[in-house]
């Protein structure tokens, strides 16, 4: 059966020899590294829940390619119900991990590349779609994690790839061989990269006709020769190196972002899914971004659920939960969080079938979804900090709580309506999500992940039909004749 257990997934990472750098040093055993392991645990949860009968309806699905039971994270959406279930699955995983569980980018990339290669082949007579199907069957049958890889280093933002003084600012083809291509460049902010088995690379943006070397889509294993990884720092990350884990806040789980360098990496032809077709770079980018903007209507909502729960808990521990303004502010948090979920569900329900047969979200509504995600988690976090109280940022360290001399006094004076350790832990969890490691995923990733706010506004302005709305208004106020009225 094409499903790995969580343990099999973690074991599968141990066999991989990756060149990873962190804090100025090369990392030998990344799987057991205390800063990295929480992110592996979060990814492992995507396997664990698929094993559980309680969650299999969301987590697993029958592959349209093989007929086998597979993890939904490797699935091509076959209906709007599949699109909706994707969002629900992401909410579930956000609730279970309280962080970014990293596997969505691959799923979003599969679905974007699948439909785009089909249309590319129809226009250009290429055979990318069949190549990609073979790759995806391999991924499904081995239940692999694939990093969907888009954001380039980008150099001078005022210049397109072909105008950059350093052509490597955008990943590009540097050599074409009989057996494949060689690529060079760097992809930034790669979520869950070293926890992945494979990388699916896509171009970063729309390209001009003469920028063919940057119009490249391909897959390579994460341990391919020439791949280099530099682990991204997160706020408060070295707390994970301390013995007492309470100050980390989220004890077992965390996200991961990695600078990923392709230092002359060879890609065989059977793994190349776009090579110079600049006319399809926009389609591929918009579809991937659209799916990923939908994703945030699930994952951030699940994490938001845990933050709302944390605020409910801390107000109980503080003895403040009966105050009317506290109740009202928690209602506001729920309203904001559920609005994000509504957007995720809406862009899924209004999705459409592509020519390749898989389903695409409604791009306008997906961009609306993500635009709200760039704002609402910040407001939810602001309310969380409001209701948590100032101890959120002044609380002594876990070592002080444990100190035999000062510890009893620290506990005495941090005691409120409930046990002081409950307050200590819950405040650290809120700190994690609103300004610590977890804020990388819950806040700044909400802002910039899947495209910064302005990227959505550009898409919204392109997709909305303002003339239609103008016509509606002109008919209603009598500027245009209203042919709808044919009665006396």
């Amino acid at each position: 059966m094409a499903l790995k257990t969580a343990q099999e997934y973690i074991d599968s990472l141990r066999n991989r020899k990756l060149d990873i750098y962190m804090l100025g040093k090369k990392v030998d055993n990344f799987v057991d590294h205390p800063i990295i392991r929480p992110s592996i645990n979060a990814m492992a949860m995507t396997y664990k829940l698929a094993e559980e009968p309680e969650y299999e309806d969301l987590m697993t699905v029958t592959s349209n390619l093989t007929g086998e039971k597979i993890n939904r994270f490797t699935h091509l959406h076959q209906s709007t119900t599949d699109l909706i279930n994707k969002v629900k699955m992401q909410r579930l995983l956000g609730q279970k991990t309280g962080c970014c569980f990293q596997r969505c980018v691959g799923m979003d990339a599969f679905n974007a590349v699948f439909s785009t290669t089909f249309e590319m082949d129809a226009k250009h007579g290429t055979d990318y779609h069949e190549r990609f199907k073979k790759f995806l069957i391999y991924v499904q049958q081995n239940d692999l994690v694939v990093d969907g890889c888009m954001t380039d280093a980008r150099g001078d933002r005022s210049k397109s790839p072909g105008q950059q003084p350093d052509p490597d600012a955008y990943l590009h083809v540097v050599e074409k061989r009989e057996d494949g291509i060689v690529v060079r460049g760097c992809k930034l902010h790669q979520t869950g990269m070293i926890n992945s088995h494979e990388i699916l690379v896509m171009p970063n943006n729309a390209l001009k006709e003469d920028e063919q070397e940057w119009a490249v889509c391909f897959a390579v294993p994460t341990d391919a020769p020439g791949m280099l990884y530099v682990y991204g720092r997160q706020s408060c990350d070295t707390r994970k190196l301390e013995d007492n884990k309470i100050d980390v806040g989220n004890i077992n789980f965390g996200g991961q972002e990695v600078m990923t360098i392709f230092n002359n990496v060879f890609v065989p032809w059977e793994r190349v899914f776009m090579n110079g077709e600049t006319d399809f770079s926009t389609t591929l980018v918009e579809r991937f971004a659209g799916y990923h903007r939908q994703s945030y209507g699930g994952c951030k909502v699940g994490t938001g659920d845990t933050l709302i729960g944390a605020v409910k808990a801390i107000t109980d521990y503080n003895g403040a939960s009966k105050a009317s303004h506290v109740k009202d502010k928690i209602v506001e948090m729920c309203h904001l969080n559920e609005t994000l979920f509504a957007c995720g569900i809406a862009c899924s329900a209004a999705g459409r079938k592509t020519a390749a047969g898989n389903y695409l979200i409604d791009l306008l509504l997906a961009n609306i979804c993500k635009q709200n995600v760039t704002r609402f988690p910040y407001e939810i976090a602001r309310i969380a900090q409001d209701l948590a109280g100032g101890l959120l940022v002044t609380q002594p360290s876990a070592q002080d709580y444990d100190n035999p001399e000062i510890g009893p006094l620290v506990k005495k004076y941090t005691q409120a309506a409930d046990d002081s350790e409950k307050r200590q832990r819950m405040l650290r969890y809120i700190e994690n999500l609103t300004m610590g490691c977890g804020a990388v995923g819950y806040l700044t990733e909400s802002m910039h992940g899947a495209g910064s706010p302005q990227a959505q506004r550009i898409m919204i302005s392109r997709l909305i039909d303002l003339q239609h709305r103008k016509d509606l208004a002109e008919k209603l106020c009598g500027i245009q004749e209203n042919h709808d009225i044919d009665w006396k």
Partner: protein, 107 residues
């Protein structure tokens, strides 16, 4: 007289002018082809679903039963491929001319 059945989606949020496209079709098709909106005694060879957006929510089994073959317009897509909105009626005629349907309805 040959017939093509035209069915419309509810039109809640269209990104194309559906009736204008149908008017363009009426002007381009030969006079012995009539466009109808209701079920006919003989099941038509061809139907056209005119959906205002890409969701193409009209594309349901009970609608498909009304004709043997269908061209589905979903916003700026015709049969799932993107088409410039002002080219949609031309694309529909092109599909008909490509011979996917009964030759009797060719313009």
């Amino acid at each position: 007289m040959k017939t093509i059945i035209i069915k419309y989606c509810g039109g809640c949020n269209p990104v194309i002018n559906r009736s204008q496209i149908v008017n363009e079709l009426k002007q381009s098709l030969p006079p012995d082809i009539s466009l109808v909106n209701d079920q006919t005694p003989k099941k038509p060879e061809l139907g056209i679903m005119m959906c205002g957006c890409s969701s193409a929510c009209l594309d349901r089994e009970e609608i498909r039963r009304l004709a043997h073959e269908w061209i589905v317009v979903g916003g700026s897509y015709v049969d799932l491929f993107p088409v410039n909105p002002d080219q949609i009626s031309l694309r529909i005629i092109q599909i008909i001319q490509e011979g996917r349907f009964d030759e009797n309805i060719n313009p």
